[in-house]
């Protein structure tokens, strides 16, 4: 360490002299936060700021900490240690900054969504509702049907393609499929919607709107995710298991079906669940090809079909004369959507946790 402390501290322990104590940084962080909060609180009380902006307060506190720790450390510990302190505090700052929108978003959705998160919301459609009341039953039914059909299309295709890539594929065809799966991963969701429109307009004429076409669009987005995750999981199955099975004279397809797939099963199901979670919140393709409606439609093969994300969007974008009711419904829809996605993510994690074979890592 540097010699800023000089002769006076010669007797001190040479490993701790010129170092700030361990408790110093956390204490300074807490102090800066309190300072930031109180400064902004004072400004609010003095009437400079209209309402108490908690985000600004946290930001002021964090930046104060960044500055203080650098200045103090450069005085007490020297330049190199001060740079290290500065980077550490910046890294913490980055994390705090990322938490702000997440907390703000979850808070807003829960607070605003709770207003209409009631029984009517889940038992009524928007048919002939103009102001208050109404619900998202038609949108929830639509979302479940469209997503289920998308899953039915993409799971067999994706899973078998993954089996091909891991168990059978070689040469240029394998490389081509791997490459184009990568390309497919990057398709913007709105382009998938346009594709489904172009495809179905060919058969059903211009202006076609159909729930099933929405499923096709979602399947285009879902297949590469299923292929990727299944491929990773199949690759993790140890070759010894396959070889043991071959050694017993079991044909290849039975080896794959009875040995490889069950071993990779938990991982594959997790991947599929996460893929569903990814597409269930997709708005843009469904807005284009499934359209929007205020009535219930149980038939995904004809006419417009509402889905939950599109419900949120249309409630916001086309409010009637009493805007607040529409916004309340939009927030309740957003809350429902987030709960569904989080539940799917949670299920995926639980599956990995409880059903993964213990042999791995």
């Amino acid at each position: 360490m540097t010699s800023t402390t000089g002769r006076t501290r010669m007797q001190a322990n040479s490993y701790t002299s010129g170092r700030l104590p361990r408790w110093f940084a956390p204490a300074l962080f807490a102090a800066s936060m309190v300072a930031g909060l109180s400064v902004i609180a004072l400004l609010t009380a003095a009437g400079v700021l209209p309402e108490f902006p908690i985000v600004l307060a946290v930001l002021v506190g964090v930046v104060l900490f960044d500055v203080l720790i650098t200045v103090i450390a450069s005085a007490a510990e020297g330049r190199r240690a001060a740079t290290d302190r500065l980077v550490t505090s910046l890294v913490i700052t980055a994390f705090v900054i990322a938490l702000l929108p997440l907390i703000s978003l979850l808070y807003t959705v829960v607070v605003n969504g709770a207003a209409r998160f009631d029984l009517t919301f889940f038992t009524h459609s928007m048919r002939s509702v103009i102001g208050e009341g109404g619900g998202a039953l038609h949108a929830i039914v639509g979302t479940l049907q469209i997503t289920a059909l998308a899953t039915i299309i993409s799971v067999p295709v994706g899973l078998f393609a993954a089996i091909y890539l891991v168990e059978y594929g070689r040469g240029p065809l394998k490389r081509a499929i791997t490459f184009f799966v990568d390309v497919m991963t990057g398709i913007p969701s709105i382009v998938a919607g346009l594709f489904a429109y172009a495809l179905f307009a060919l058969f059903f004429g211009e202006g076609v709107r159909m729930g099933f076409a929405g499923s096709v669009a979602l399947a285009v987005l879902m297949i590469p995710v299923v292929v990727r995750s299944s491929e990773e999981m199949l690759k993790l199955v140890p070759d010894e298991l396959r070889e043991a099975s071959y050694a017993l004279g079991v044909p290849k397809w039975r080896t794959v079906a009875k040995v490889v797939l069950p071993t990779a099963g938990a991982g594959i199901v997790t991947g599929i669940t996460l893929a569903i979670a990814r597409v269930i919140g997709e708005t843009a393709p469904l807005l284009i090809i499934a359209g929007f409606t205020s009535s219930m439609n149980y038939n995904p093969f004809s006419e417009r079909m509402q889905s939950l994300p599109v419900f949120v969007y249309t409630q916001y974008a086309n409010p009637g004369s009493q805007v607040e009711f529409y916004l309340d419904r939009a927030w309740a829809g957003a809350l429902t959507l987030i709960l569904i996605v989080m539940a799917l993510n949670l299920i995926a994690r639980l599956i990995t946790r409880y059903f993964t074979p213990r042999t791995r890592r």
Partner: protein
């Protein structure tokens, strides 16, 4: 096997089962191959249908297009500019923060906390884009208005902050912030993955030479992870380019090309323009929108290919070491 003592029986049995096995193998193999080919066909179909539906707009009289531009390219140019511009600003905001968070999780946070913290950041990825749009327009945009006014009044000489400030906050900068939040988890997750893979021996060697933690990161982690950071950023860019609903809901669009990011007049993005106009379009306008979608597809394809090429080169350079 007891095959040696009863040759006839076992031959017959194995003969039958091998026919079954061969049939099963053939069917299974065909299924797997068919699924792989289906993906190729689907992608080819996407390209062919988009091109086929775009052609009418490219050769038609531009007067039939929305807003009556001089040509189709005059119609696309502001949208393409807006798409790239908003995504680029979003990345400028997101990359430093993402690297910071990834470092925090991989090298700074206590090991027991690292995984839960990673989950928290992943939560950001779980929020559907329409909810981000709703949050952006009702929370972020109004909150940002005073800040924007301050910026235009005090830093208006800087081209990006040129006045007048938007009164609603529905500007490119607000969109870019929302996009930054949306791509943050992807970039963070990928960066974290490469940071964790830094050889421990390199890190310990740096510490042994007396490096502080930051010096260790600068001389071992960053050189090792540079290409990983680049490809993560490019993948984030690809995601930001294609993002639709958040932009469609937050931005107040107009058909201009302008660098100012705080004004009420903003260039829209391709994806948002499609989402806003598709439901009310018919005939040639639909073709024009599909043509813009094709251009968006090509832009994202190029960006993703560059990302993949960077990763590929890095993998090769690691192998040759």
């Amino acid at each position: 096997m007891t095959g040696a003592t009863t040759p006839t029986v076992s031959d017959a049995a194995s003969g039958r089962s091998s026919i079954q096995a061969r049939l099963g193998d053939v069917i299974f193999r065909r299924l797997a191959l068919g699924a792989g080919v289906t993906i190729l066909v689907a992608l080819a179909a996407v390209a062919i249908f988009l091109v086929a539906q775009s052609l009418p707009a490219l050769i038609a009289d531009p007067a039939d297009l929305r807003g009556e531009p001089e040509s189709f390219w005059h119609y696309v140019a502001p949208l393409a500019f807006g798409t790239v511009w908003a995504a680029a600003i979003a990345l400028v905001i997101a990359i430093p923060i993402a690297i910071g968070i990834a470092l925090f999780i991989s090298h700074y946070a206590p090991r027991r906390l690292a995984q839960p913290l990673g989950y928290i950041i992943d939560l950001l990825a779980a929020v559907p884009s329409v909810v981000y749009g709703l949050w952006g327009i009702t929370v972020l945009a109004p909150a940002a208005v005073p800040f924007y006014q301050w910026l235009t009044e005090n830093m208006g000489w800087f081209p990006l902050f040129a006045p007048p400030a938007s009164g609603t906050g529905r500007t490119v900068l607000t969109v870019a912030v929302v996009l930054a939040v949306m791509v943050l988890p992807i970039i963070t997750a990928l960066c974290r993955e490469v940071f964790v893979q830094t050889p421990v021996l390199h890190e310990e060697a740096a510490y042994a030479l007396g490096a502080t933690r930051w010096e260790m990161i600068r001389i071992t982690v960053f050189p090792y992870a540079r290409s990983g950071i680049v490809s993560a950023s490019m993948l984030g860019l690809g995601r930001a380019l294609g993002e639709t609903m958040a932009v469609a809901m937050v931005l107040s669009p107009s058909a201009i090309i302008s660098l100012a990011i705080l004004t009420p007049e903003n260039p829209s993005t391709i994806a948002a323009n499609i989402a806003l106009n598709f439901p009310e379009s018919a005939g040639l306008q639909v073709n024009a929108l599909i043509a813009t979608g094709l251009i968006l597809f090509i832009i994202t394809l190029v960006v993703n290919s560059i990302a993949r090429a960077v990763v590929h080169r890095h993998e090769r350079s690691l192998e040759s070491r």
